[in-house]
Amino acid sequence: MLRVSLREISAALKEGQVTPTELCQRCLSFIKATKFLNAYITIAEETALKQAEESEERYRRGQILGDLDGIPVAVKDNFNTAGIETTCASNMLKGYIPPYNATVVQKLLDQGAVLLGKTNLDEFAMGSGSTDGIFGPVRNPWSYSRQYRDKCVQNSHPEKEDSNWLITGGSSGGSAAAVSSFTCFAALGSDTGGSTRNPAAHCGVVGLKPTYGLISRHGLIPLVNSMDVPGILTRCVDDAAIVLGVLAGHDPKDSTTVQDPFKSFELTCFTDASKLCIGIPKEYHAPGLSSETLALWSKAADLFENAGAKVIEVSLPHTRYSVVCYHVLCTSEVASNMARFDGLEYGHRSSMDKSTEVMYAATRREGFNDVVRGRILSGNYFLLKQNYENYFIKAQKVRRLIAKDFVNVFHSGIDVLLTPTTLSDTIPYVEFIKEDNRTRSAQDDIFTQAANMAGLPAITVPTALSEKGLPVGLQFIGRAFQEQQLLTVAKWFEKQVKFPMIQLQGIMDHGHTVSHHQKSAFFS
């Protein structure tokens, strides 16, 4: 039952085939069964069950709040949630209990969703592997899938039980793992350089990054104010559209949300692809792209052309500078955003109290890890008076060039761009940690970053399994505020590729048995 889509479970709830409390309890016990994935930091068991009971009452009275009523969801741990610890996987905020809900969390709760818990991430969302938080790295559920394990045996790789597990990608790795392992039906992530789409591609789920300014960032602990967006992770494109419909819209508390009214839409499947124009940006064949991903990209383009769409090669000449530009802008904005953590009003506070400066320095020394400190120091370097013009302003100029590239491409008649999401399928943790966080981020963000620079919507759709039996995703980038068109194309594509469902029965041999009394007729 946990494997169905959001729309299907919503229908099941409305028909009374399952109750919200039953659903919530099953999800909670499945979370316990998959604890080794380390996807969750905090599990809000009591409040979740209470919300489920209230939802059940509403169903009984026939007064449901919407499609999300009673649906278990998870939220990344850098969104503020009232009464539930919010840590950003950092010592700085360990034990911090926010007094308010982030707007997106509030919107989900207002629709009756059941908040199961907060998911794991890289510390302060800095990283591309979900490996650098203080609560440990997140494991990719596909490491334990039958598809991957069978291929390991075939390729005669002796699979030692626990040592060769794969990373989820980052930084919303916990959310992606949670959705991928069926513990919830939708999850919130944040996307600054690809942090939603990267783990979505590696975990075989749909990751949507909406247009900058469409969804409120109030309550999202900021990383880069000019590029952050809350991201949506679900198992299919339809579900992403449902969640988007709930979250999008102007928020008076976030003045960077646009004031245009948002009309939520129902996704239709188009039958006539001849009016569609797909762009293939040639710079997205970057060095290091794996041959498998390249082949899938070609096949996808082929698929669209065979269906009658126009497939055109385009050029985004400044793509290669996008990661460098991001590096400068991100570290600079981080240097500014992390200045709020001084220990006075919230968070960790050092016991050294000779002076405020000494206290701040000691607090930040104790609270931040190497990655965060490295970025703050680099950012401060780029913002020094002697460097400001050469680095920060220069990066802002390059940003305009990158954004203009996209504007030019879309003006020439392209509706949607088709690109790879990641260089290859996911890799084992022991291999990932051989390079440092900055190098890995620079490598992994290469296809996803430019969409954040330009503020455009992008979605990654799981496409096929690689030779190792691991998911590979492809990315669609759309015009600003044209999520409907983007999602329509993505939905059609998803229907064509029929991505296989992860087969997780193999987790039995970890000694975590999904107890048999839970298996009902709904389990496929």
Binding site: P99, G288, V328, S355, E357, V358, G374, Q443, P500
Partner: protein
């Protein structure tokens, strides 16, 4: 703009709208394409065909068979860029310490990486602060709509007295390098 023709450039299994994607096997059809993931990214720019200067014959009306650009070898920093004075200054500004030699190296690598920006010609280009620059930010009416949450806010602070946050004495600058417990002092 080129209209790409994809007809049958992939030999073998026929493709179409209903093709079954699971169990994808690639064989040797794409061995010309970029090699698998490599860890060393800093290859010097080599064969001009690789840089896309000459239309390579591997472009067969499909997605480019070879990478269209290469990473540029990063030049090492001139010595004068990151001195102990600069490092000390950064530690004071950021109120965050380098901790060890690795921290300093991290900064040097970050600067090296950022230096690639200088290859871009940005003459006449205005800096971009935000993608929403052609819109007006929303400003609400100047009326009090919420507040009186003093207790909730004070709850999160470690040290408070009545309705005050307690801070140690201010206006005392951080001690100079010699007086601080910092790794930089050792490296002098």
């Amino acid at each position: 703009m080129w209209a790409l023709r994809f007809s049958r450039y992939i030999r073998g299994a026929p493709l179409g709208g209903g093709s079954h994607w699971a169990g994808l096997s690639l064989g040797s059809r794409f061995t010309q394409a970029a090699s698998g993931r490599s860890d060393s990214r800093q290859e010097a720019a080599g064969d001009p065909r690789q840089r896309g200067l000459v239309r390579p014959r591997s472009y067969r009306g499909g997605v480019y068979q070879n990478p269209t650009w290469q990473h540029v070898e990063q030049r090492p920093l001139p010595q004068k860029k990151v001195t102990v004075e600069v490092l000390d200054h950064l530690e004071r500004l950021a109120l965050v310490d380098f901790r060890d030699w690795e921290g300093v190296q991290r900064l040097e690598k970050a600067i090296q990486f950022a230096d690639q920006l200088h290859a871009v010609n940005t003459e006449g280009v205005e800096p971009m602060d935000s993608v929403l620059e052609d819109r007006c930010l929303y400003l609400r009416e100047d009326n009090i709509t919420e507040g009186t949450c003093t207790e909730e806010l004070l709850r999160n602070a470690r040290e408070t007295v009545e309705e005050y946050f307690i801070a140690p004495p201010g206006n005392i600058p951080l001690p100079k390098l010699e007086g601080r417990d910092t790794f930089l002092q050792v490296s002098e």
